[in-house]
């Protein structure tokens, strides 16, 4: 299949979910098109193999959005997706999440692991992750980071997977996902109240979940998942059943889906999308503001910003922590996926701005003063996404004013790095100071 066909398929899947399964208002505009952020980022997460945290009020479709996307993008019947979900509560055990000993065999003195559906299937959904103890949250995120799961002396490898975790609002009162764990998520989105009209529509379409059910195939999948087979064989049999489900969707709903090979191709296409220089320079400028400290060399959670610092107007002054290395990875991956999805050719500043708030919201720890100043503001988003959106927009304005100069400074730095004797370009932004540091020049 051609790149365009894959994109067409992905777009059709988005449209199908939006029109038949997950009703919500559009809240994000990219390239002149309107999208619903929860649905869009869930879909991109599934395509990329990323990690999304979906927050929201109970009953507003946090989990269902992930289930629909997971089911359609990975050709898995809804029943199988449900069966593999991990639900978050304090007593949740490793055995229920990862695997358990085969008790029959254990009684005969043999150690053999029965792996959970959660680790075997590529779509991993954790409901209410914030209710899991930190050790279990960490265990899941470690597994997902590396793609391998261990129990007793056995290991299972996932070569393709994505993670959706849902949580209550991450405000100060209920935050039980600690910052290092939050940082592991690529994006955070809010599943919002759809508005009375869509909400009413949902009540009229209660049968919608049946569209993605297929009891026979679900049973077959269950059987294969239970069997102790060599990994390649298991993979191939699971893949065959998934494709049957894909055929079923094609026949019953006239909906094309992507098989495992196609998804791999899509990932290759996304990875090949380039960044234009504006997107590149803007992202660097953003990262500079999120990590810069003139006095202490870089932002550190343990250090407090000085009063009267020259850089008071920049984001660094309002932040407590430093941007992690995972942020630019998420930013670039999702921007590329978005550019691929909207057929933008390459990642421009628009894609970075669109994904930026969702990549930053859960990672930025703002100062109490900043929070107390803005938390009463009129807004549509939850506070964290609102603050991240404002930050992204503010940096965009600064970039817009001096785009050519910033790019010229970076180009100039390239030449200095290559050995030319030039003076680095100066300017009033942390990026210029960071360039000097990269060039090992004293301030």
């Amino acid at each position: 299949m051609e790149n365009g066909t894959y994109r067409h398929t992905a777009r059709k899947l988005y449209d199908f979910i939006q029109s038949n399964l997950y009703f919500n208002r559009p809240d994000l505009q990219v390239g002149g098109e309107q999208f619903n952020s929860t649905l869009l980022f869930s879909l991109l997460t599934a395509l990329l193999g990323g990690k999304a945290l979906i927050i929201g009020e109970p009953g507003l479709g946090k989990t269902t959005a992930a289930e629909y996307v997971g089911s359609l993008l990975y050709q898995l019947p809804a029943g199988t997706v449900w069966a593999s979900e991990v639900s978050g509560h304090p007593e949740q055990t490793e055995e229920k999440i990862i695997g358990r000993p085969d008790l029959g065999k254990l009684n005969t003195g043999q150690e053999e692991v029965v792996w959970s559906h959660f680790v075997q299937l590529p779509v991993k959904i954790v409901d209410e992750i914030n209710r899991l103890p930190e050790t279990k949250q960490s265990m899941i995120l470690d597994g997902v980071d590396r793609g391998n799961w261990e129990y007793l002396n056995e290991m299972i490898l996932n070569d393709e997977y994505c993670l959706f975790a849902t949580a209550n609002y991450q405000d100060q009162g209920t935050n039980t996902i600690i910052a290092p764990l939050l940082d592991r998520f690529d994006v955070m989105v809010e599943s919002r109240y759809p508005g009375p009209s869509y909400a009413f529509l949902i009540s009229q379409r209660q049968e919608k979940e049946e569209l993605l059910r297929h009891p026979d195939l679900e049973r077959e999948l269950q059987e294969v998942l239970k069997e102790k087979l060599p990994p390649e064989e298991k993979k191939s049999r699971l893949g065959a059943i998934s494709e049957s489900f894909g055929t079923y969707l094609q026949e019953s709903l006239q909906l094309s889906t992507l098989d495992s090979a196609s998804r791999e191709k899509v990932r290759q296409h996304i990875s090949a999308v380039g960044l234009d220089q504006d997107a590149n320079a803007y992202a660097r400028m953003l990262l500079a503001e999120l990590s810069f400290c003139e006095r202490h060399g870089q932002k550190r959670s343990s250090e407090v910003c000085e009063e009267g610092c020259h850089y008071t107007g920049y984001l660094c002054h309002r932040l407590r922590n430093c941007a992690s290395n995972r942020l630019p990875v998420s930013l670039a991956n999702y921007a590329k996926a978005l550019a691929w999805f909207t057929d933008a050719g390459e990642v421009g500043i628009e894609e970075i701005r669109a994904v930026g708030p969702y990549c930053l919201a859960h990672r930025a720890q703002w100062t109490d003063t900043h929070l107390s100043l803005l938390q009463k503001d009129r807004r549509d988003d939850p506070l964290q996404i609102h603050l991240a959106r404002q930050a992204i927009s503010e940096v965009y304005q600064r970039y817009s004013e001096q785009a050519e100069r910033v790019k010229a400074a970076l180009a100039n730095a390239y030449r200095i790095f290559q050995g030319e004797v030039l003076e680095p370009l100066a300017g009033d932004h942390p990026i210029y100071a960071e360039i000097r540091k990269d060039l090992n020049l004293e301030e």
Partner: protein, 525 residues
């Protein structure tokens, strides 16, 4: 799109052209978050619609200019101008207000100030578009009839852009304007001051013509801003304004254009933002928001009890009593058997109710009139009130001058911010005496924390001091200037730990002292 059916055939072509050009304009301007512009038949050549930030292009103007220039060039130039205002100058309402207020301060006259600020923003936005975004604005400005103001501005463009716009060279008139760093945002206020100095005589000459006739791009409205922007901008403007009067004047002038943020938030401001007294109250409300204290988190403390928190695999060296047979498949094998990890629980500490707050504020003749000058006493009272309100407590205000003679206003405990500010901003300007019995009865009502802000020239000070020293309430007395009366209060505070007295020479410190006490009382981090 407005009224598609009546549009002449050429307009249909225009729309297609717009659809084609818009993505390219957006790309050049680094993809601003603006929807596809639309055409209309009235207004200035290019404007912006409220709320959804949609650029509106005047189809009549485009058709008229089409006699002189290719339509594509006109459209691109107009879009560049409109987008530049959005992405560069003024960018947001706070900047727009700041520029307008500076112009108003220099020129005095509202309309002149408006024109000057508009012209300055045009020069900045146009220059930005030409320098950074390869704009075709010079071609547009080269064509069409010009107003006297445009003659000068276009001469300026010729000098600073290095292009020939085909007009009369007017070097003398623009001499003061050419070396202004228009694109340096940090210096915009100083640049505007220089700009006005250079253009003032011309502004005064052309004052009689209607605003829309002064330049082809017309006036920049304040209506395009959303309520959330207005809230933020007013907060910043209150901080930047030199006096409540300046704030009130600007707000009064713009009241019809700016949608009052309080109209929507149910803060009971009604239609009042325009009247000086209401604008005054809004000023202190917005200013106090800049002194926000972080919210106190409910303190968590160890419960003193261990509870089974989560499972982990049992290791041989660990005790048996915590084994969980239910999760261990009935086996006692290391690595399979699960043991309960016990943790000490965290519980919410004793939740102390935040006390209510009574602000006693002196508004006698010796205190600053909050309507004409920034009164740090009112601001301090406002900061205290806001902090207590944010902690779900209620606030009472006792504003007094000569209280026994009726010069006082008492607002009983309430959570209505507008009402609190209304009473705080009241100015009597008479003598200074407290109705001690009345104040005591309020103080005994609910044991509120008391903030007394005065210059200590209270005629019945002895009585006041002795009564306060018998109260159990925590009292913060802030006195302005060195007055002998303060000594008596200080003596009382030595004996009574519940009284703290702060003398200030710089009234600027009042809000900080008040917030310091609040921080202390509410045990904020």
């Amino acid at each position: 799109m407005n009224d598609n059916r009546e549009r002449p055939e050429q307009s249909e072509d225009l729309e297609e052209m717009l659809q084609r050009l818009w993505p390219e304009v957006r790309r050049r301007h680094l993809y601003p978050e603006l929807p596809l512009p639309r055409f209309d038949k009235s207004g200035s050549p290019v404007g912006m619609e409220i709320r959804n930030k949609q650029i509106i292009l005047n189809v009549d103007y485009i058709e008229a200019m089409a006699q002189l220039l290719p339509v594509e060039t006109i459209l691109e130039a107009l879009l560049d101008h409109g987008v530049s205002h959005y992405t560069c100058c003024p960018w947001d309402l706070a900047t727009h207000l700041r520029l307008y207020a500076r112009a108003k301060k220099i020129l005095g006259d509202n309309d002149l100030a408006r024109t000057a600020a508009d012209l300055f923003m045009d020069v900045v936005a146009d220059t930005h578009a030409v320098r950074e975004r390869q704009s075709s604005l010079p071609q547009l400005y080269r064509s069409g009839a010009r107003t006297p103001l445009e003659e000068v501005i276009f001469s300026l463009y010729e000098e600073i852009w290095g292009v020939d716009l085909g007009g009369k060279r007017n070097q003398d008139a623009v001499k003061r304007l050419v070396a202004i760093p228009y694109l340096d945002k940090r210096r915009w206020l100083a640049s505007l001051t220089r700009f006005i100095r250079g253009i003032r005589p011309l502004l005064e000459e052309t004052k009689s013509s209607s605003p829309d006739e002064q330049t082809r791009m017309g006036r920049h409205g304040f209506q395009q801003y959303a309520p959330e922007e207005i809230e933020q901008a007013l907060r910043e403007f209150a901080r930047d304004a030199d006096s409540p009067e300046e704030f009130a004047e600007v707000l009064e002038y713009l009241q019809n254009e700016l949608e009052s943020p309080c109209d929507k938030s149910g803060e009971d401001m009604g239609h009042g933002a325009g009247s000086p007294v209401e604008a005054n109250r809004l000023y202190y409300m917005k200013l106090a928001e800049n002194y926000a204290l972080p919210l106190r988190k409910m303190p968590l403390k160890d419960s003193g009890h261990l509870h089974p928190h989560s499972h982990r695999p049992w290791e041989v060296c660990q005790p048996f009593q915590d084994l969980d047979p239910w999760s261990s498949f009935g086996k006692y094998l290391p690595g399979i058997t699960q043991i309960w990890e016990r943790r000490e629980g965290l519980i919410y500490g004793k939740k102390e109710k935040t006390p209510n707050c009574l602000v006693i504020i002196d508004s006698s003749g010796s205190m600053v009139d909050p309507r004409s000058q920034l009164s740090y006493a009112v601001l301090g009272g406002g900061c205290a009130a806001d902090a207590y309100l944010r902690h779900d407590a209620s606030v009472a205000v006792y504003n007094f001058s000569d209280a026994p003679a009726g010069g006082r206003e008492y607002l009983s405990f309430t959570r209505s911010r507008p009402l609190i500010y209304k009473v705080l901003c009241r100015y009597f300007g008479g003598g200074t005496a407290l109705d001690v019995d009345e104040v005591t009865s309020v103080a005994l009502e609910d044991d509120p924390d008391i903030f007394l802000i005065t210059d200590m020239q209270i005629t019945n000070l002895d009585q006041t001091v002795s009564r306060f020293s018998r109260l159990k309430n925590r009292v913060t007395a802030v006195h302005v200037g060195k007055k002998s009366g303060a000594l008596r209060f200080i003596k009382a505070s030595v004996k009574n730990k519940n009284i703290s007295v702060f003398g200030v020479n710089d009234t600027n410190d009042i809000p900080r002292i008040v917030l310091g006490s609040v921080r202390n009382y509410l045990a904020l981090e």
